[in-house]
Structures are given as C-alpha cells and as structure tokens.
C-alpha cells in the first residue's frame, strides 16, 4: 500500500478545475479514516483525561491506566509516551484504597499512533490551485473515488480546485478508494502546497 501512496503522491499535478460532486463523501471518508489527517500523525505521546466525568459523590478510587505495552500510571489526568508507533488498547482499573479490591477494565480505549508520512511540497503563486489525479501512474488499481481535504474543506473527484485562504504552507490530505484484483482497497497520503508571496 505504501508504494501506491507514493505513486499516488507523484501523480498529483496541477490541472483544470472540476465541480465537486453534489454527493461528495470526502468528509465521511476522512472521519472514517482519521489516520489520513496530518494532525494525528507523528505523535507517540497521549494525554488521558477523565476529570470531568469523575462522580464527586462516588466512592474514592485510584485510577490506574494500563497503556497496553506494560506501562501503568495513575491519575484522573495522565500523560504517557510510547516507545513505538502502533495500536494499543488502554484499560482503566479502579483500585479501592479501603477494601484493596480492584475493579478491572472499567473502561477501555484503543488508540493508534501513526508514523509521519513524508510528503512532497509543491510551490505555486496563486491562491487558487487546481489538482488532478493521474490514474496512469497506478495502472493496477481501478480508482473509484478520490477525496480531498483542504484544511477541513472537502472535495471529491479526480480533479478539483481549491482557493486557499492565505499564502504560506498548507497541507492537503488525499484519499482514494477502489479495487485491485477484485479486492476493495483504500489509502491516503499528504501533499504540501506552498503558496509563494506575490512579486
């Protein structure tokens, strides 16, 4: 999949704009695939916060978090850094300081820490930029849908355009769905767009 993502990235080029489909599901795609967003990649630390759901009239417990890699930390608010990227199941145990009993798995949460993606940065002059996906570079994949995320503005289609609000650096997330040898596949990548200052 990684090779496709790189190829996909190379396939991006400037091209005439096309109108976005009325039934664009780009937002849904990126919500369903949070790893496609730039903002959730490259982090190895997490902060867990249950302070506002602590029942003040409830019995006092020590909140013990099992981070899924053997590490345990206590507290309503806690922060932990993993050594490696990956998917971890975090569980909360409650320790009763009076009876010494332990309530296991009071709460569980799965987190995925994704490595950063290396991406290409293209430099342009205009705020309005046209994008086109070139399917010739991924001949083995029958791409059905292409989704674009420009700073939480969404678009669909192999061609699209976007007018950025300001100059400088912008990160664009791109997702595709399609089939390869009859199997459904999907993937995503990032590209950087640097809009130069006007001369």
């Amino acid at each position: 999949m990684k090779a496709y993502l790189l190829a996909f990235l190379m396939a991006l080029a400037m091209a005439p704009a096309q109108a976005q489909s009325a039934e664009c599901e780009a937002q849904h795609f990126f919500e369903k695939n949070p790893g496609c967003g730039a903002g959730v990649r490259g982090f190895k630390c997490i902060e867990l916060d249950v302070r506002h759901s602590v029942d003040e009239n409830g019995k006092e417990f020590i909140y013990a978090w099992n981070f899924g890699d053997g590490a345990i930390q206590n507290g309503y608010l806690t922060e932990y850094c993993y050594k490696n990227y990956g998917t971890y199941t975090i569980s909360l145990d409650l320790l009763d300081p009076k009876t010494k009993l332990v309530v296991r798995n009071e709460l569980t949460k799965t987190v995925t820490l994704l490595p950063p993606i290396e991406y290409q940065i293209d430099s342009v002059q205009q705020l309005n930029v046209n994008f086109q996906y070139d399917s010739a570079l991924l001949p083995s994949i029958h791409v059905k849908n292409v989704y674009w995320n420009f700073d939480a503005h969404y678009a669909c289609g192999k061609s699209t355009s976007h007018t950025f609000a300001d100059r400088g650096f912008h990160l664009v997330a791109i997702g595709v769905t399609g089939t390869q040898e009859g199997n459904a596949v999907s993937g995503c990548t990032l590209m950087g767009v640097f809009i130069r200052k006007e001369k």
């Binding site: 959730v40 490259g42 982090f43 190895k44 630390c45 997490i46 902060e47 867990l48 916060d49 249950v50 506002h52 759901s53 602590v54 029942d55 009239n57 409830g58 019995k59 417990f61 922060e79 850094c81 909360l92 009763d96 009076k98 009876t99 010494k100 009993l101 309530v103 009071e106 709460l107 949460k109 987190v111 820490l113």
Partner: protein
C-alpha cells in the same frame, strides 16, 4: 411500572437472556441459602424463606423444568452446625394467584404461597440429592400465571427452611430439559429478597434491580453483612455511591435518589467483600412507596456502565 419492564425486555431483546441459573454467574454469588427455623438470624437469614419467580415467554411450547442443585442439607456445600438436622421444603406454584402481591413482599406473610401447587418435596440429609440436581417437572408452560407485567408466564419456587439449625446452600435452574440445564430463550428469574452466601474469597458480588420510570428513590436494606466490606450503588449516572453497611445480626439501610438517566435502566448493587471467609446475608430494595423492587438474575439490558467522558489527546514527544 411493570409495563415498562415488558417494553424494555422487548427492546433489549430476549435473545440476550439465556442463562436462567439462580444465582446467575454475572452476580458472582455462589449459592443461595436458607436456614432451618432453629438457626439464629445472626447467621444471615431473617425469615427462613426464599421466593424465586421464573418468567417464561408466552410463546414457549416445550415443557419446562425447575431444577435445584444440592437441595439436601448435609454432605457437600451446606453450612452445618453439628449433625445435619435440617429439612427444607421446596415447592413449585403456577396458575392464578402465583404472582400475588403477598408473594412480592420481602417477608413471607399473607398469601405468599398462593397459586396452584404443582410439585413439592421435603429434603433432609439425603445423600441421593447431595451435590446433585433434583428436577421438578415437566410443567406445561401454560401452567404458569400469565403476567402482563412480566411479559410471560410466571412460576414460583418457594424454598422454606423447616426444623433444624443448618444452612442449606443451593442453586436453581429453569431448564428446557430434565437431565441437563438447557436455558430457555427469553426467560428470566427474579426475586424480591435475596438470602445468599457470599463467595469465600474477596471480590465483588452484584445484584441487579430494574429501575422503572416511576422510581424516584430507592432504599437498599442489607442484613448481617458483618462489616465485611462495602456496598455501593453503581448505575449509568452513579459511579459507586456508598451505601449503608450492616454489622452482625442487624439491618442497615440507606436511601438513594434516582435521576432521569437512571430510569428504565438496571442498577448494580455491588457488594465489595474485602475479607476472606463465609458470610450469608439478606438484601432487598424498595422504591419511594416502600414497595419491593425485583432483582433479575439476568440484568435487563445488561449490567449498567457508568458513562465516562474520556478525552484522549495526542501529543508530540518531549524534546530531548
């Protein structure tokens, strides 16, 4: 109140209710117990009677059986005080009057044994039934009392300690077969007062009353807990509020208001036992009108889960 139970049972799906063992595995209670009438209340049984109801779906066609494990007193599992000398009468009722108001009270009084007596047997120190299942039945499901409130046909099992001073520990199972325990889809078991033996080990036991829309507050009563730990109220909106705990041979009670989010949900009365050893206790819960609230062997809608609001924030690694 009872109509709400029906609708909830329907919503939650009968298919989830498959194990009619009493006490149920999810309660983490090993055995129910009834003591002979010469046993002092300080052992944990305030009235020497346990009434258990079984509800069977209206569409049940096959015969049903009510099975009792270790119904004798003596040999394994029982609490003996000297030579085994206790007798226990176990009776099955069906038909009109089974689910009477008196039978829904926490203390046996009035017509608690109303209905048609379908079967009964007195067990003593009987090796034939030690550590074994005794089967009552077969019963035609239509021999139960139709109860709109419980959405099915209701049978009643009354376990009464007769003469003697021992404790008879037992389990029950509503079964579709006579020689093995086969759950009946959609059936459940419930009671209005529980007298049971806590597990010997430390741990958490659960009782699951259903809080219907009309309940504004509950009062939990527990007898002879011997201060062996704590009791807490756990619901979708209460994260283990502490409840009053009884000492030896005494009742303790505490009142707990119910909020909107807790209505039409199951409450989990958790007994946090922090000491090793045997202990029998009696427990019941009433609403604001002092009416007993039924405990279900299989919690309706499943055990409650307190709603945590967990925020997970990803953060960059600290710079070295």
């Amino acid at each position: 109140m009872n109509r709400l139970i029906i609708s909830l049972i329907t919503i939650c799906g009968w298919s989830a209710t498959l194990a009619q063992r009493v006490p149920n595995e999810v309660e983490n209670i090993d055995y129910l117990i009834v003591y002979g009438t010469q046993a002092p209340a300080s052992l944990g049984d305030d009235d020497h009677v346990q009434i258990i109801f079984f509800s069977v779906p209206l569409n049940q066609k096959l015969p049903i059986y009510i099975r009792v494990y270790d119904p004798d007193t003596g040999g394994d599992h029982d609490e003996l005080h000297g030579p085994a000398n206790t007798q226990t009468r176990i009776s099955v009722y069906g038909g009109k009057g089974t689910f009477s108001k008196d039978a829904q009270k926490v203390n046996p009084s009035g017509q608690y044994n109303s209905g048609n007596l379908l079967a009964a047997k007195v067990f003593g120190n009987d090796k034939a039934w030690d550590n074994k299942w005794y089967t009552f039945g077969p019963f035609n499901p239509l021999q139960g009392e139709v109860s709109e409130a419980m959405g099915g046909l209701v049978f009643k099992l009354i376990i009464e300690g007769l003469e003697g001073d021992d404790g008879n520990q037992y389990r029950c199972f509503l079964s579709e077969q006579s020689q093995q325990n086969v759950s009946i889809e959609g059936a459940n078991a419930f009671t209005y007062e529980y007298t049971f033996k806590l597990p010997k080990r430390k741990g958490i036991s659960h009782i699951y009353p259903f809080i219907d829309k009309s309940v504004v507050s509950i009062t939990q009563y527990n007898f002879d807990y011997d201060h062996e730990g704590e009791i807490v109220i756990y619901t979708v909106a209460k994260n283990r509020h502490e409840a009053a705990v009884s000492g030896s041979n005494e009742w303790a009670k505490s009142k707990h208001p119910m909020v909107e989010a807790e209505k039409n949900t199951t409450l989990d009365l958790q007994l946090l036992k922090s000491q090793e050893g045997e202990n029998a206790i009696s427990v019941y819960i009433t609403n604001q009108y002092d009416e007993a609230i039924p405990f279900f062997a299989i919690p309706i809608g499943g055990p409650p889960k307190y709603k945590y609001d967990l925020k997970v924030n990803l953060k960059p690694s600290p710079k070295k």
